[in-house]
């Protein structure tokens, strides 16, 4: 094997696997600390996530959200940006869905209404990302900080709107009226029903396919188009980008608009697919989950689908776990999420020296200065 190839495999496969394994080993320790048998828990978790149709439905439904936010984080990452604002962008994407559906669901047919709502989700998500992007590109404000701030601002804004403007009167919780059925996305069980295949009812809807399509589109965009080429150039070497006549400011804007738009699509799955109304906090946790997914998936669409599936399974299996193990709550999934971000992200290179040494034992070659 050539050293370059060996290196690539190490980066692509061995390192990420070791990192995830470490995260799981630590998770096991946490299980032991709270007196839960980790093997039983793992069995239950897997069974809950994949053992029956309804469980699979939920797993894939969560996966859908994580794909969207994972892609959002990844595309910004390729442009050298760290978008922590997925949470807020998803939220404001929901505002787009809500406004469109509430305004038009009385008279527009589904075939027009749904695409319009999807577009609104993406546009509003993008708009919310546009401000930090502009400030980064043209005013040099650090995007990590501004997107954090914009998460809080999105939350305040949505609360204000839902409580004072959009909220349905006489309703307990601050949420809008239910959407008309013309805005509902077909669920998996409905769609399979058309072909005579029975599938248990679950929130899994057509958005999942849409998310997979987005993965493909992002892959084509990043690696097969000149815009993706320019975006990756800016991320990898901003000086080279300027040299190549690429305006990094435009790329920052473009990357963040796409990123925000993708994050906004969480609202499509959640609101058009499942909740059928605009409500508070439907975005909770997916923005930050997206960071873990992107890091774990090495910012590649295929990796992101796999990582999102893992997180979907953790969410669903974790919920299932708490049915049977009173000591286990959803918070354990949060812990696992944190550990994965830690080991796949911050401590990404922890094992690199060892692997390097291991490789050099087998792959010999020397280049002098």
């Amino acid at each position: 094997m050539k050293p370059a190839t060996a290196q690539r495999w190490a980066n692509l496969l061995i390192l990420p696997t070791l990192n995830i394994l470490t995260a799981f080993v630590v998770t096991t320790l946490v299980f032991l600390a709270i007196g839960v048998n980790p093997i039983d828990a793992a069995k239950l978790l897997v069974k809950g996530a994949f053992g029956y149709q309804n469980g699979i439905g939920y797993t894939l439904y969560y996966t859908t959200n994580f794909i969207f936010t994972g892609l959002a984080v990844a595309i910004a990452f390729h442009a050298g940006l760290f978008n922590i604002g997925g949470e807020g962008q998803a939220y404001i994407g929901g505002l787009g869905v809500g406004l469109v559906v509430l305004a038009f669901d009385g008279w527009l047919p589904a075939i027009i209404l749904i695409p319009l709502a999807i577009l609104a989700a993406a546009l509003m998500g993008a708009a919310w990302a546009a401000i930090p992007a502009y400030l980064q590109a043209y005013r040099g404000s650090h995007i990590v900080i501004t997107t954090i701030m914009f998460n809080f601002l999105a939350s305040s804004l949505m609360v204000y709107l839902l409580v004072n403007v959009l909220g349905e009167k006489g309703q307990m919780s601050p949420e809008t009226r239910s959407f008309a059925e013309s805005s509902f996305l077909p669920t998996w069980s409905e769609m399979l029903g058309w072909f005579g295949i029975p599938f248990a009812s679950s929130p899994l809807n057509i958005s999942f396919l849409f998310a997979l399509f987005c993965c493909f589109a992002v892959w084509v965009f990043l690696w097969k188009t000149r815009w993706g080429y320019e975006l990756r150039t800016v991320g990898a070497n901003p000086d080279a980008a300027i040299y190549a006549g690429i305006n990094p400011k435009h790329i920052v804007m473009m990357a963040m608009l796409i990123s925000g738009g993708l994050a906004g699509l969480v609202a499509v799955n959640e609101l058009l697919g499942v909740q059928h109304r605009l409500l508070l906090g439907f975005n909770a946790g997916y923005g930050f989950g997206g960071i873990a997914v992107a890091l774990m998936g090495r910012n590649h669409p295929v990796g992101i689908v796999l990582a999102a599936l893992l997180f979907g399974a953790l969410y669903q299996g974790g919920a299932e776990l708490s049915f049977d193990m009173p000591n286990v709550t959803r918070d354990l999934v949060v812990v696992i999420q944190g550990l994965i971000i830690l080991f796949s992200g911050a401590l990404e290179s922890m094992y690199r020296p060892q692997i390097q040494r291991f490789l050099s034992r087998f792959v010999k070659d020397e280049v002098s200065a």
Partner: protein, 324 residues
């Protein structure tokens, strides 16, 4: 004395209480970031500190042990951050995010397993908390017009951690600008290579800085659960770590301005509480959400360069790589 004055005093009194955790965390961030280590994880460290303080104070009945536990646990998380970002040169923002998420999950999982109260710790009695202390002459000063209430109602009657937080500001200034450690700390955040070639270990300095940050976050956490409140509750930091980060940026990474930024943000919070539903002349009712968002909006505006120039330490967030 006018009602307005009384209201002002009570608002300022609240400002001091609300600013205290921000100040601890803001100073923590100051030490860390001036040494070149970005600290998004203030929130998480406060949270684990709060949990440890409440848990240990409850179990031992001694609040000081709770404080020590908070410091130890928070420092452990700091060391984790250091391990990732100093030893392994990982992405400091990612590490911070991980710490926040980990803290949020871990406090709940352990709290639930140990106390079976939905993640909260049992309520603390007054003996297990930091309670108000009266400054000397607070009673007798009460009657002096203006100065009296200012002293007895606003300055007096806080718990020891409040006074400590404010005392830390001049101390930090002194450390930064009058000691060898401060000189090195400021240098390592600007040009770590210069520090390295001067024969000082960059890693050791940065570890020292993040450990101090951990200690201060421990104080902030202990304040939340054993002084301001009397138990730990899920996610009780409620974004204050990020608010502290905003204050730090607003203060342009300098000690005294950190104090003023924290006081400003605390004041806004205190005002928001009092302004709720009140109709102001000419303006009408200001949405509370707007006032609550003000610190964030102000920080964004500052970052955008409309309120002067934000100048972070040059090496802030950049891992120090010695070899080429």
């Amino acid at each position: 004395m006018s009602e307005w004055f009384t209201l002002l005093i009570s608002t300022l009194d609240a400002t001091l209480r609300v600013s205290t955790p921000l100040l601890f965390a803001g100073l923590a961030g100051l030490y860390s970031e001036r040494a070149g280590v970005v600290d998004i994880g203030l929130e998480g460290k406060m949270l684990v500190g709060a949990f440890a303080a409440a848990a240990i104070a409850h179990l031992t009945g001694v609040v000081w042990l709770g404080l020590i536990a908070a410091i130890i646990v928070s420092v452990l998380f700091s060391l984790l951050h250091g391990f990732a970002s100093i030893t392994h040169r990982g992405n400091q923002v990612v590490s911070g995010v991980a710490i926040n998420i980990l803290a949020s999950g871990l406090t709940m999982v352990l709290g639930l397993a140990w106390f079976h109260q939905g993640g909260s710790t049992p309520s603390l009695t007054n003996n297990e908390r930091f309670t108000a202390i009266q400054l000397p002459f607070a009673e007798s000063m009460q009657t002096v017009p203006y100065i009296g209430p200012l002293y007895s109602d606003m300055l007096s009657g806080h718990n020891i951690l409040v006074y400590l937080a404010f005392a830390l500001v001049p101390l930090t200034w002194w450390v930064f600008y009058r000691t060898r450690f401060g000189l090195r700390l400021r240098a390592v955040g600007e040009n770590p290579k210069a520090v390295d070639t001067a024969g000082i270990s960059v890693a050791t300095l940065r570890y020292q800085a993040v450990i101090i940050a951990g200690v201060l976050c421990g104080f902030a956490g202990a304040y939340l659960s054993t002084a301001q409140n009397a138990q730990f509750i899920r996610d009780m930091t409620a974004g204050q770590g990020f608010m502290a980060l905003a204050a730090l940026i607003f203060a342009n990474w300098r000690p005294w301005p950190v104090l003023f930024a924290c006081l400003l943000f605390g004041f806004l919070d205190a005002v928001a509480v009092r302004l709720q539903g009140v109709s102001l002349p000419h303006i009408g009712t200001v949405p509370v959400q707007l006032i609550e968002s003000l610190p964030y909006i102000l920080t964004v505006i500052l970052l955008a360069g409309f309120l002067g120039k934000s100048r972070p330490p040059k090496a802030d967030g950049i891992p120090y790589v010695k070899e080429r």
